[in-house]
Amino acid sequence: MPRMPLHPAVGTGKINPFAKKVIRFVRYGCTNRPFYHIVVMEAYKGQRQPPTEQLGSYDSRVNVHNERLVAFNFERIRYWLGRGAQPTKSVAELLGLAGFFPIHPRSYMTAWRHRRLNDKQAAQAKDAEEESKEASQTS
């Protein structure tokens, strides 16, 4: 069930100044249709708790134009980074892709793995083609 009422994007005003802060995803949306809010909140809190502040959103579902949409409030992200908030790996990856952070090593690893898989598949396809050609020639 959706959380009602939705927490305001400017935050709930309840901030624990001594707790460790993280910039992380919070899953909204419904079954089979994820949608993420990018929020800053205390590290010990569960994702269903009211966040300190919303910093953006991430729609992981590809849209008509073959895009994944990410929104960042860079001003507030800079503020919270300055206050010592730490982004989670996935958020850091997105910030890297946006050109705000250096590219996250995990992004490079993923890209490399995908390339390797693509090459493998391409090689397999090529082999299969050659085999079929040979088969047609022999017959």
């Binding site: 069930m1 959706p2 009602m4 419904c30 008509v64």
Partner: protein, 448 residues
């Protein structure tokens, strides 16, 4: 066993009673008691009374008993039931021997001898009008027959007279009331006690007549007969016509407050297309006068005659814009939302006061001025009771997913001409569908 024996004795002891099963009876007499004991226990006797309610009384009084109510019953209000159920004497008009097939029965429907000739029983040509005549006779038996009115002719509620139209007033000499329409506002029975007659009943009719173009009049008519009451009221109303000024032929000149006795009315001027939002009697009045847009709130007593009188007083006490400006010695300026609150000068007095001559204590606000300083009570609309319940919260949460569904559907239809999205090609099994069982059924029927 004892009871069986007893029954058997009873059978023997009452031999006079008629036995229905003759065969059985014969066996009884011939074979005697022993055989009778051995027979099955099917009831063998049936008590038949030769005299009954039906053959004691003649047909006429039997029918009377069904179709009419005694005087005592009439007093207790049972006669109403007879009229409602429409019980008719079906025997009227029927003659023994004459039926659907037109047979001639000598001795019954015709003499046996005609001159010296013996009449034979034979079939005559059928009478096609017989059935229709019978039905007509039966229909004529019911005294009052309700005619079904069309929804337009119908009044405010049910078969009551209130709000119903009774046509234009009767012409006086050569003056006809063309384009006039009369509507009944109140129709009731009134009584008074007299010395020698006791309770004397009369019908009272309160009607309004008008031409829908500013001319209208209302009157009260009383008579013993309801028709006469309506007629007198109608013709009296025609004698009391009043001309009422309107704004652009659609609404009142300005807001006003009016009062008659304890009945107070707040009338608000409205924009074109607003309609009549008011008491039904005021609505009928407005329709007859020709006012199309108006809001009115009745406070205090809702005595109908008082409402009408108060409303007419208010209408007559309206002032034209020029008069208002002249009285106040200030410009009267109109602001309309559709014109983006552009100040339109409506009336200017011959001599305008300057700021120095406008007292700080006088009423400058137009609405307050025309309402005579009265304020309409606007009740706060409270939220419905169920919004406090937990189930409402749960429902709201469930509905949250569907909040944009209709818009998405519209967008899909606008873009693709059907319910589909760009994902439908990839996942055809998840094609969006309307939950419309009727269409589903028709689709199945088509497939078959």
């Amino acid at each position: 066993m004892a009871s069986r024996l007893l029954r058997a004795f009873g059978l023997i002891s009452n031999p006079l009673k008629k036995t229905t099963n003759n065969n059985n009876g014969l066996i009884c007499q011939q074979a005697g008691m022993v055989l009778n004991l051995l027979t099955s226990h099917v009831p063998v006797t049936n008590i038949v009374r030769s005299t009954s309610f039906f053959n004691k009384l003649p047909a006429e009084s039997l029918w009377k008993g069904v179709t009419s109510v005694s005087n005592a019953g009439r007093k207790r209000g049972r006669a109403r039931a007879i009229g409602k159920k429409g019980i008719k004497n079906l025997n009227r008009g029927q003659v023994i021997g004459i039926g659907k097939i037109n047979m001639q029965w000598p001795g019954l429907t015709s003499p046996i001898l005609r001159g010296r000739e013996l009449i034979q029983q034979h079939k005559l040509p059928e009478d096609p009008e017989r059935e229709a005549k019978l039905i007509q006779l039966r229909d004529s038996m019911t005294g009052f027959k309700k005619t079904k009115l069309s929804p337009i002719e119908r009044g405010w509620t049910g078969d009551k007279m209130g709000g119903r139209s009774i046509g234009p007033p009767d012409p006086i000499g050569e003056d006809t009331f063309e384009g006039f329409d009369t509507r009944v506002l109140e129709f009731k029975i009134v009584t008074n006690m007299t010395g020698n007659m006791g309770r004397k009943r009369r019908t009272s009719a309160f009607v309004i007549t008008g031409n829908g173009n500013g001319l209208a009049g209302f009157a009260l008519g009383k008579a013993l007969d309801s028709r006469a009451a309506l007629k007198t009221a109608k013709n009296r109303a025609a004698q009391k016509l009043i001309y009422i000024n309107m704004y652009n032929n659609h609404t009142v000149l300005h807001d006003f407050y009016c009062q008659f006795g304890k009945t107070k009315i707040f009338v608000t001027k409205q924009y074109e297309g607003f309609g009549l939002v008011c008491h039904r009697a005021i609505k009928t009045c407005c329709e007859v006068i020709g006012i199309k847009d108006l809001h009115a709130k009745v406070e205090g007593s809702t005595n109908l005659q008082h409402i009408i009188k108060a409303f007419f007083i208010g209408l007559l006490q309206q002032k034209s814009h020029q008069e208002l400006a002249e009285k106040k010695k200030l410009h009267l300026v109109e602001f309309r939302k559709e014109n983006d609150y552009f100040p339109t000068l409506i009336a200017s007095p011959s001599k305008v006061r300057t700021e120095n001559y406008v007292s700080t204590t006088e009423i400058r606000d137009f609405k307050q001025y025309v309402l005579g300083g009265k304020i309409m009570l606007e009740k706060r609309k409270l939220p419905p009771f169920f919004v406090k319940q937990k189930s409402w919260m749960i429902r709201q949460r469930k509905q949250e997913y569907l909040r944009n569904q209709d818009k998405v559907r519209l967008r899909m239809l606008a873009e693709h001409g059907e319910l589909r999205s760009f994902l439908t090609d990839k996942y055809p099994e998840a094609k969006p569908r309307l939950m419309n069982f009727k269409s589903k059924r028709s689709a199945e029927a088509e497939a078959e």
